[in-house]
């Protein structure tokens, strides 16, 4: 399989994530969408590294994954906080701040 295929796969996963963020009403679902997008990018990075035969390209995703994990952990913490003070995890209920 050529580079093209990986790029297409990554693009498809990225768009799936995007779709999830826009359409999900549940905050956890939205969070998962974002994770999907970030991981799509990782596929992209790995693919580029692999096809360039460049070791650095394989190190980058490790960085990216670490950051993504930190972000996911924080995201869950914020959702829990949200649930504690608002008793809801539905995104559409979050409209105290507007205008």
């Amino acid at each position: 399989m050529g580079l093209q295929a990986y790029l297409v796969l990554s693009a498809v996963v990225f768009c799936l994530g995007l779709f999830g963020v826009i359409t999900r009403r549940n905050t956890i679902g939205i969070l998962l969408g974002v994770e999907l997008m970030l991981n799509a990018v990782n596929i992209n990075l790995v693919a580029f590294g692999r096809f360039r035969g460049d070791l650095a390209g394989l190190v980058f995703p490790v960085f990216a994954i670490a950051i993504t994990v930190a972000e996911a952990a924080l995201g869950l913490a914020i959702v829990i906080l949200l649930f504690r003070v608002r008793r809801t995890v539905m995104a559409d209920h979050l409209d105290l701040l507007r205008g």
């Binding site: 990225f14 460049d54 390209g57 990216a64 105290l96």
Partner: protein
Amino acid sequence: MFASFHAIVPMLCVTAAGFAAMVAEAFREKGEPMPIGPLGVVGLIGAAVSTALLWDRHATSFGVVTADNFGLFVTAILIVVGLLSLAISAPTVEREGLPRGEYYALMLFSLAGMMLMATATDLLVIFLALEVLSLAIYVLTGIRRDSQMGAEGAFKYFLLGGFSSAFFLYGIAFVYGLTGSTHLDRVGTLMAAQATSSGPLQILAVGLLLVGFAFKVSAVPFHMWTPDAYEAAPPAVTGFMSTGVKAAAFAAFVRVFLSALEPLIGGWSEIVWVLAAATMILGTVVGVAQTSIKRMLAYSSVAHGGYLLLALVSGNDTAKGAVLFYLLVYAVTNLGAFGIISVLETRDQANDRVTDYAGLWSTHPTLALMMTFFLLSLGGFPPMAGFIAKWYVFAAAIHAGYVWLAIIGVLTSVVSVFFYLRVIVMMYMSAPDADTRTTLPAVPQLAGAAIVISALIILYLGVLPTRVLEWAAASVSGII
């Protein structure tokens, strides 16, 4: 090999202070007052000293962080932001009973991230720095754990931040795929070589990077998080993030787009033109209808991002210097204004409606005067520093031939004075409304001093800007 560490000494100092704050918190008895804020001050002073020592040295660490004068100038701005933020945070931490160790540690870590972002010369390190500063800021936004708004604002900011990070990282991936490197100077030269044939990959790469930066500098239509997050956070945090994040993000923005991707300016300048125009107009127009001062300043901050974009699109050396000067002026002014909002807040009352400021002149004359300075400076009234900053930005745009953009800029800043002046009029010319009147608290000394110092700085920069302008202009030569 230790020479290699030089460039990151400022952020090491700040990080160390952050760790110290965390450790101190761990050993703190419940309810024991411990001077954790001053730890941060020590770290920032260390950073300031090392920044001064690094000046003109052009030190590089590990090939990915370069302490050139441009980066150091922004670092200096960030140090000022940090010191002022620590000072205006003290009363908030006290009043809200916030976990002080966490609060200060987060603030310092985020500052370290900002400094890294300003001096990084590798896209991946820029991304790392961006995440470091953002993660800390997300938490700070929701630091009032019992506040419904705080949680909501933090969530919105976090989620959209993560969303835009994905775009940004995707852009980096394409840059890497295209050039085999993420280092800015290699990227620059390789992209320049391919500049003539802008294939779809290049467009994706540059476009997605642009989206990532546009989000961080809250350019329209990527600004939606800004008013909500700014309103939700405690005002001291808002002051910190509205200035620090903007400074760091613009530093990296300038570094990436005006130095590495400059050869492609023909491709992206038009887009930034549109973003700048939309940002100035929307920020100003929506600001007009706001009733909360915090939200008004949030939209004003969006509009100020537009003026900075205006300088970015102009792209000449004047413009780069103008960006630095503008960032400094904006940082000090905005922190001062949020400092005032922060000291007027009480535990159960935000006191941030415009009408809450009615008659401030008679209850807190000094605060009213300081607020007048800040608002006039934001509105670009001479002889406040904001005027000079705007003048430079507009002049740079006209020089570069962007006359229409400059006209939009002048027009929106003309309109923007409307809402700044409304607050001034409230403070001086209205009697406090007897029914809804909440007693405003007394001003804590430290925060008061920080506010007065901010005002003095903007007066100084308005009246005698030459020296700082020269520094700013000198710092932009040889950015990479």
